[in-house]
């Protein structure tokens, strides 16, 4: 049985003339692997910063382990959030950063840390400032994994990591997660790469939650119909269209709405191709600027416009 570890309601974060987070309400359960997806500037880092009291909400309620995290050592020490552009003290070598992390995270696992240093081939004799982008990311990833914090945030952890290192990260993350379950929030815009890891997906767009659902639910929710334009339109009827492309008399329309076996057979009989939609495509369709009804004020409004 899972219990909520994070509860946010009506969270707003405003900067002078823009809102970074706009009426965000979310609940994160313990021991779940979340994907926090969205474009650059969608508000992912701001959200994680507020949850770890590194930044402050303008209004709304934030509860982590039932309390507000600001200046709350008993809450903060159970979380780890190494940001994508994390700064490290001048002259610090990786080992200094790990020594410091070991002092502050009660569940720190030094053996795991050493293993990861080896796996990522992280040079230990150089200051962090002189490391490559990928090696700097590796320092953050190692702190995040070895901290074994009850809520661990990974903020675009793969930046600059090569394909091999990224795979090491994903493998280690899953192994760690199954051995020591905790709540993990993986912020990412490389959606296809992480899609299979995720148990729950949250998509932010311009500071708003546009998707908050279990990964399994999402997988069947959308499909693309390809075929002669007229037939496709007829089949779609009143369903919610999230993307439409036409090439000559052919149309490729992505529709968000589960399809029953009967409907699927019907479509095939009409000579239409039914293709599944990957999580990445779905997120792109949901957050792309040319999305129909984009000018609407809230996800609900946008649907109205489409209808």
């Amino acid at each position: 049985m899972t219990a909520p570890v994070v509860e946010i309601s009506n969270l707003m974060k405003r900067y002078r003339d823009t809102s970074a987070l706009d009426d965000v309400s979310l609940t994160l359960q313990e021991n779940t692997l979340y994907g926090l997806l969205g474009r650059n500037g969608a508000g992912k880092t701001t959200l994680m910063s507020i949850l770890t009291a590194q930044n402050f909400e303008t209004s709304g309620t934030v509860r982590v382990f039932g309390k507000h995290p600001y200046e709350n050592a008993s809450v903060l020490s159970r979380m780890c959030f190494i940001r994508e552009s994390q700064k490290y003290p001048d002259g610090f070598r990786p080992r200094h950063a790990f020594q410091a992390a070991a002092m502050f995270f009660p569940n720190w696992d030094q053996q795991l840390c050493d293993q990861l240093i080896h796996d990522f081939e992280l040079p230990q004799d150089r200051t962090i400032k002189k490391l490559s982008r990928g090696q700097t990311s590796a320092v953050g990833v190692i702190i995040g994994l070895a901290s074994r914090a009850e809520i661990t945030f990974f903020d675009e952890p793969y930046l600059g990591l090569d394909a091999v290192a990224r795979q090491i990260f994903y493998d280690r993350l899953l192994a760690e997660y199954s051995e020591f379950p905790r709540t993990i929030v993986l912020s990412s815009h490389l959606i296809d790469e992480v899609a299979n890891l995720l148990e729950h997906v949250i998509v932010l767009d311009h500071g708003r939650v546009v998707m908050d659902a279990d990964a399994d639910e999402i997988r069947g929710t959308a499909f693309t119909l390809i075929g002669p334009g007229a037939l496709v339109e007829e089949f779609i009827g009143g369903r919610e269209v999230i993307h439409r492309e036409t090439i000559g008399s052919f149309a490729s329309v992505t529709v968000e709405c589960p399809l029953s076996d009967l409907e699927r057979r019907e479509a095939t009989e009409l000579g239409l191709d039914v293709a599944p939609v990957s999580l990445q495509q779905l997120v792109v369709r949901r957050t792309a600027p040319d999305r129909p009804g984009r000018q609407g004020d809230s996800p609900a409004d946008r649907m109205e416009v489409v209808r």
Partner: protein, 229 residues
């Protein structure tokens, strides 16, 4: 408390930064004085220099550096701003105390060797050592810590409000001094002020600086409370 102590340990993980460099500066300054005394200053009359202050100035940089990059890092390690503040200001109180003790001890050596055998005085300065051993140490500590907390506050202001914060604070402090000077001028009290200043001892000056330190520690904490990493 445990967290604050760990913050102090974290600040000291790279000892070169805050211990090595001040010591290097101090010994370089001393070496210069000895070389100058041996080669350039003839006769046996003692000469006094302010070269020792070079090490004190390192603490301005220390104050800036202990915040600029270490504060964001401490936030990544889920440390409260309070623990970060207590740990950092605490460990620098000890570091400057170490420097004050060193200053005093080197002053003893200086007197015993008649200015490093070349009549050059860096630490056993006339007025500074005129009172008592604790008067000397208190003054050196107070100056060192004032420089540290000034650098720390400046960096915090910059972190919180960027250049505007630092500018407003700088202008504000300049204004305060200006107003004090104006009040003394208009009340024709410069002579009395001079008299008063002449009567100060190392210990009373240290006490005055301590008040300024207390104010700066307070405003630094208030500035840091809502600062973003």
């Amino acid at each position: 408390m445990r967290q604050a102590i760990n913050v102090g340990r974290m600040q000291m993980l790279n000892r070169w930064q805050f211990v090595g460099i001040p010591l290097l500066v101090l010994s370089t300054a001393l070496a210069f004085v000895i070389v100058i005394g041996a080669l350039l200053v003839p006769g046996s009359k003692p000469f006094y220099t302010g070269a020792g202050q070079a090490a004190l100035w390192c603490f301005v940089i220390g104050g800036v550096q202990s915040l600029t990059l270490t504060f964001p890092f401490s936030q990544g390690l889920s440390i409260t701003r309070r623990a970060y503040f207590i740990g950092t200001t605490g460990v620098f109180a000890l570091l400057t105390l170490g420097l004050a003790i060193l200053f005093y001890l080197l002053g003893l050596v200086e007197n015993a060797t008649d200015g490093w055998f070349v009549h050059g005085y860096v630490f056993a300065l006339p007025w500074v050592t005129s009172q008592s051993w604790y008067g000397t140490m208190a003054l050196v500590w107070a100056i060192g810590y004032l420089l540290f907390i000034s650098g720390f506050w400046l960096a915090t202001l910059y972190k919180r409000w960027a250049i505007n914060g630092a500018l407003v604070a700088g202008v504000g402090i300049a204004l305060i001094f200006l107003i004090i000077a104006a009040v003394i001028t208009f009340t024709h009290n410069w002579a009395a002020f001079g008299q008063w200043a002449m009567q100060q001892t190392p210990l009373s000056l240290a006490g005055g600086i301590l008040v300024a330190i207390a104010v700066l520690v307070g405003v630094s904490f208030l500035t840091l409370r809502r600062a973003l990493p």
